[in-house]
Subunit: 414 residues, 2 copies
């Protein structure tokens, strides 16, 4: 029995109700996307009176969250309304993905659209964490300059980081060689030093696979899929769980580590300290090694593997198929545990799907106990291009704005 | 971005608010348990005025949900209040667990206390499903008679069933040999035939491990543990996931099937159609076979295994340790995926914990990537006696009553 005590109505004071309703109206307009939103349409959707919605819309127009344009004819009685849209300028979110061999920074607007993107490929394994984060801050500062030219003013930064992320720090990221790195603090200090005299932006952080999964959920066109497992093949194998449209973070923020589920208890040693983890069978290095492909520069190995698979190279196809079987085996356990709508594969798996998905689906079909998995069920799918961690991070910042626009009204002007 | 549109205040009409507040006050009194609840204390806790709470309490007293007795001195100013308690008579919940070798029926009152229990040991594998459910209905009918003598009147029945349960049916329960059995319908018809002229009780159903996990959550004294994996060793290995105090049912209602996570892809065939499932290593039959213990009658094998383990019988201890290692291996993957607060072991594992938990903890310690598992962390624990499926089922029925007592006011008199 849930014993959380919540009260309806009587205790919610007027200001709280109005702020909540501002958010409701702003999100209703945002959800219409490119369709025309009118005051009457919004009122019908959110269940408030037309008069109440008009007053809320005025406030959102005044503070720069909404714009209106032209006349629209709804086909209903009454005078024509004007079309409402969320503003393309004003408050924005900044997402910064720091990964093994690149930093990618993204600015999204209120609609969630990516408006500025700056990616630099560099090897982050060689440098001390503080230096990597200072570089990332430099890239972020340049991105902020571009955003300002478009009159977009981020109200916060979210960092997308590999490994175990909690309390503002990277607890452990074996593939970067990071241990107990206070990432938020280091990044914030570097960014502040680059922007003297400007207000400091609040910095948050989250595991990169979690943020990529959120981006997939929000922008990936998943339609009815509300619960899914997200796997991303990189140098490590990252994972995230979305359950009923919400990220499952776990009791300590460490959920989703599917790369370290055991495939073979006596298998090869893993950097995490265990043996026979999925990463040792389906991670990028294992896959390239099995296929006999040498990594000569960033991304070149995976491109070569795709090329050889397409050309029907036996060793390449066999290596990808074996990785698919191992993925399928571990995924069958995860599906038996969680019963999700779908499994989404991102990272290097996206391009390898033609050779990977058959063997993976075969394992799943044979091992999912509900009988609700078949080779043609379409539940194993490639991630969309939208599912990237930097955009997810930027959009996460915007969630706070959408949840309480009044708190950000002053900042909307930049 | 969550786009569920919810409105605060303005749309909630007075009746809805009052019904919600009745629930709030009833749950607040229930949560006080054996401590004294007063109108003033409840008002402070739920954040309503003393006058509002008094009016709600009167209604709950009138309709038999609350009783009051004696004077209590709160130590605060004002006249002494009277002590409020939830009624020990009136609306109740009926839970019926149908398992491989027993049927257990339980009645709980508003406080969640088990008040009547009737268990019959019988082998349900031999009989057709309709016959098993008719027997269960007979046991339920006798339990209802006992409940009526205590002036407890169940307002609904929840069935706790093994296997894959959804839409009122058992889709598949390999260990019972059931396939597509419309359990709710069969049970309801049998119960109605046994109680001619009495109003029919609504029947719901749920997987038994799910209900045992809920009972563990509600009555197991888990304190701060809000997210846990629940495993129950029986003839099958059942499982359930509780995340933030809520059961995770999955997209089709089939989550928690940890018994069918792969341990060894080429291992022995499992009844589910796959190979090398956990059940083949840590289920009751595998465990008894490995220990060289013969099953001579219901429960005798497990009792003998416990006896031999306690006596230091090498083969028994080794078999339990090996099962513990396999459990630990699969659990490490589940912990890496879900990052729960704890893992709770029930069923036959409860009694075997002294020989099981060490080897399981060792695997977990070596394989949980967060580093947040150690042999002495206390996160692997035995279930409490409270964690039984029949009580969970009965308490689930009561959730509906607690959520909207007004809807059950007429029935409270029986």
């Amino acid at each position: 029995m849930k014993s959380n005590l919540t009260t309806l109505g009587p205790k919610a004071d007027k200001d709280t109700v109005r702020r909540s309703n501002l958010s409701l109206v702003l999100r209703a307009v945002r959800d219409e996307g490119d369709r025309e939103a009118t005051r009457a349409g919004v009122a019908a959707r959110v269940g408030l009176t037309r008069a109440a919605v008009s007053s809320l819309v005025e406030q959102l127009l005044d503070s720069g969250f909404l714009t209106e344009s032209g006349k629209t004819f709804s086909g209903q009685a009454g005078r024509p309304g004007t079309a409402l849209k969320v503003a393309r300028t004003g408050p924005a979110g900044l997402g910064v993905e720091v990964n093994i061999d690149y930093v990618s920074v993204c600015v999204v607007d209120l609609a969630g659209t990516g408006r500025v993107r700056l990616t630099e490929h560099l090897d982050n394994r060689g440098a001390p964490p503080a230096e990597v984060l200072a570089r990332a801050a430099g890239i972020a500062a340049r991105t902020l300059d571009s955003a300002a030219e478009q009159e977009l003013f981020p109200v916060g930064v979210a960092l997308a980081l590999p490994g175990l992320v909690s309390g503002g720090a990277v607890r452990q990221a074996p593939n970067l060689g990071w241990n107990q790195v206070p990432a938020e603090e280091l990044f914030a200090a570097s960014l502040a030093a680059l922007r003297p005299g400007r207000p400091e932006l609040p910095v948050s952080s989250e595991n990169e696979a979690n943020l990529a999964a959120l981006a997939e959920l929000w922008f990936g066109g998943l339609d009815e899929v509300r619960s899914f497992l997200y796997l991303t093949g990189e140098i490590g194998v990252g994972g995230a769980l979305v359950i009923d449209g919400e990220l499952l973070r776990g009791a300590h923020g460490f959920a989703g580590e599917i790369g370290h589920v055991v495939v073979d208890a006596d298998g090869p040693e893993c950097r995490c300290g265990s043996r026979g983890c999925l990463e040792q069978y389906a991670g990028q290095s294992a896959l390239l090694r099995a296929a006999g492909v040498e990594e000569t520069g960033r991304g070149s190995g995976v491109a070569e593997l795709e090329r050889r698979s397409r050309a029907g190279d036996e060793r390449a196809v066999a290596a990808v198929a074996e990785a698919g079987r191992m993925l399928g085996r571990v995924l069958s356990g995860a599906v038996n545990l969680l019963d999700p709508d779908a499994v989404v594969l991102g990272g290097i798996y996206r391009g390898l799907m033609p050779w990977l998905s058959g063997p993976a689906d075969e394992e799943l079909t044979g091992r999912v106990v509900s009988g609700l998995w078949s080779r043609s069920c379409g539940r194993l799918r490639a991630s969309s291009v939208a599912g990237d961690a930097a955009r997810g991070a930027a959009a996460l910042v915007m969630q706070d704005v959408l949840a309480d626009p009044a708190a950000y009204a002053a900042k909307a002007a930049g």
